[in-house]
Amino acid sequence: MSTKKQSLFLLLPFLLFILLFFIVPLVYMLLSSFSNSDGFTLMQYKAALDNVFILQGFKNSITLSAISALIALVVSLFAVYAMMRFSEPIREKILVFMNLTSNFSGVPLAFAFIILLGNSGLFILMFEKMGIDALSSFSLYSWSGLLLVYIYFQLPLSLMLLYPIYYGIQQQWKDAAALLGASPFHFWTKIGVPIMLPGIIGTFSILFANALGAYASAYALTSSNYNLAAIRIGALLTGDIFAQPELASAIAVLLGVTMITAMLLSEWSIKRTRRNLQ
C-alpha cells in the first residue's frame, strides 16, 4: 500500500501545471475583467456591452460560427454517407487524409486561400480571363471570404466527428426496415437521422465553439480589420492604438460565457432528443 501512497507524489507536478497554466490565468482574467485602476468595478462590462462596435463583433462571430458549422455539418453528413459505400481500407485512408487536412488551419490556410482567391488569386484571374464576372465583387477579406476559410477548417473535423456516429447505424437495422417495407428515404428520416440526432447536435456545438474561438486565420487574412470577438480581444490586448487589457478580459469572459451557453444548450437538447426517442 505504501507504494500506492508514494505514487501520489507523481500527481503533484501534474496538479501544479494545471494550476499555474490553466486555473491561475483564468482566475486572473476574471479578476481583471472586474477591475480598473481604482479597484472593483463593473465598468469593463458596461463599456463592452454599450459599445456598438464590440457587440457587432460578437454578432459577426456568432453568425460566422453558426453558418460555417451548419454548412460543414450538412456537407459532411452527405459525404460520410457516400464514404460508407467504400471498403474499410479506403475509408481508413480517407480518414487519414482528413486528419492531415485538419492540421491545415490558421495562418497557412489563410495564405493558401489568398493564393486562390486573394486580390490577384488564381481563380480571380481565371474568371477575369474567361470574362465571367461572378467573382468580381467577391472579396476574400470580407465576411463571405472568411466563411469559405472557416468552412475549410470545419469540414475535416466535422467529418471525423460524424464518422463514428454513422458507424453506429447497423446494416441489420436497414435490412429489418427494408424487410418491413421502408424505403431508404423512410429509413433515414424515421430511424437513421433520429438515432444520430444527439451526435449531430453535439458535433454542431463542437464546430460552433471551434469557430468562435478561432483567431489565427481571420487575423492572417484581415489583420485586425474584420470585426470578430476574438480579433477584438487580440487587438485590445496587444494595443494597436493603446492596450486595454481589462476590457480585453471582459470580452474574453463574455466570449467564454457564450461558448459555455452554447454547449449547455446543446447538452440540454441532446437530453431532450434522447428522451423523445424512448
Binding site: L10, F21, P25, M29, V75, N103, F111, A112, A230, L255
Partner: protein, 261 residues
C-alpha cells in the same frame, strides 16, 4: 455498379475543396512568375533554395521544434506518470482528469492568452516559459487519451499483476513489461501533440510576438512581403505534417495488427 447520386457529389466537392488550396500553394511555391496568367510562367526551386539558406527561417524552425518538442518532453516527464498513477491506482479520480481535459479542449487560445498576460506579464518572468507551460496543458487532451487508451488496450493492471506474480519487482514490472507494451501508443500521442503545437499561432503571437519567432510568426511576416516564400514555408509545413501523419498512421495500424493477433 451502385447508383451514384447526391452524396457522392457532396463527397467529391468536399475532397476537391480540401485539395485545391494545397495544390494552389504548392504550385505557387515552385513557380517563377504568376501574376497575369492562369498557370505559372515557369517552374523554379528558387524560393525553396532561398528558404533553406535563410538563417531567419532555419532559426525559426529550430525554435518551433524546440518549443513544441520541449512541451511534449515536459508532458511526458510530468503528465504521463500522473496519468499512469491515476488510471492504474486511483481510477475513481479519472472523472476529474476528464473534466480538466474537456475544459482545456473547450477554452480557446485567445482566452488563455489574456489570462497568461494578466497573470504573469507583470512578474517579470520570461513569457516564453508561460507559453511552454500552457503548451504542456494544451496537449493534455491528446496525451491523456493516448495514454489511457494504450493502458486499456494492454490490460495494464492485469499485466502488472502477472509480471509481479512471476517474480518481477514493481519497478521491473513497470519498466520492463508495461512500458514496452504501451510505448507505441505513447509515441503516437507524442507525435500528434507535436504536430498540433507546431501549428500554434494564437498564444505565441499574442503573448510573446516576434520576440520568439517561430515558423508560424515567420510565415505571418512573409505573408505581407513575399508570397512565393510564404508559400514555400507552407509547403515545408505541410510536408512535415504529412510525414508525421504517415508515421502516426503506420504505428496505429501496426498496434491494431498486434491487438488482433
Amino acid at each position: 455498379m451502385k447508383k451514384r447520386g447526391l452524396p457522392e457529389l457532396f463527397f467529391l466537392i468536399l475532397v476537391i475543396y480540401l485539395i485545391l488550396p494545397v495544390l494552389g500553394t504548392a504550385l505557387y511555391a515552385f513557380s517563377t512568375k504568376w501574376n497575369n496568367t492562369i498557370l505559372p510562367e515557369g517552374i523554379t526551386l528558387e524560393w525553396m533554395a532561398f528558404l533553406f539558406q535563410d538563417m531567419k527561417f532555419l532559426e525559426a524552425f529550430g525554435r518551433s521544434v524546440l518549443l513544441s518538442g520541449g512541451a511534449v518532453a515536459l508532458a511526458f516527464l510530468f503528465i504521463v506518470p500522473a496519468i499512469f498513477v491515476i488510471v492504474l491506482y486511483f481510477p475513481k479520480y479519472e472523472k476529474w482528469v476528464q473534466a480538466a481535459v474537456v475544459l482545456v479542449y473547450a477554452f480557446p487560445g485567445v482566452i488563455l492568452a489574456v489570462g497568461l498576460i494578466r497573470a504573469y506579464a507583470h512578474l517579470g518572468v520570461p513569457m516564453i516559459f508561460t507559453i511552454l507551460g500552457a503548451y504542456v496543458i494544451g496537449i493534455l487532451p491528446y496525451i491523456y487519451q493516448g495514454t489511457r487508451n494504450s493502458l486499456r488496450n494492454v490490460n495494464a493492471r492485469q499485466l502488472l499483476d502477472a509480471a509481479e506474480l512471476l517474480g518481477a519487482s514493481k519497478t521491473q514490472a513497470l519498466l520492463k513489461v508495461l512500458l514496452p507494451a504501451v510505448y507505441p501508443g505513447l509515441f503516437v500521442a507524442a507525435l500528434l501533440s507535436f504536430s498540433i503545437l507546431f501549428g500554434e499561432f494564437v498564444l505565441i503571437n499574442l503573448v510573446v510576438g516576434s520576440r520568439f519567432e517561430t515558423v508560424q510568426i515567420y510565415l505571418m511576416k512573409k505573408l505581407n512581403s513575399s508570397g512565393h516564400i510564404a508559400s514555400a514555408v507552407v509547403v515545408v509545413y505541410l510536408v512535415l505534417m504529412s510525414l508525421l501523419t504517415a508515421v502516426i498512421y503506420g504505428l496505429t495500424k501496426r498496434m491494431k495488427g498486434v491487438a488482433h493477433t
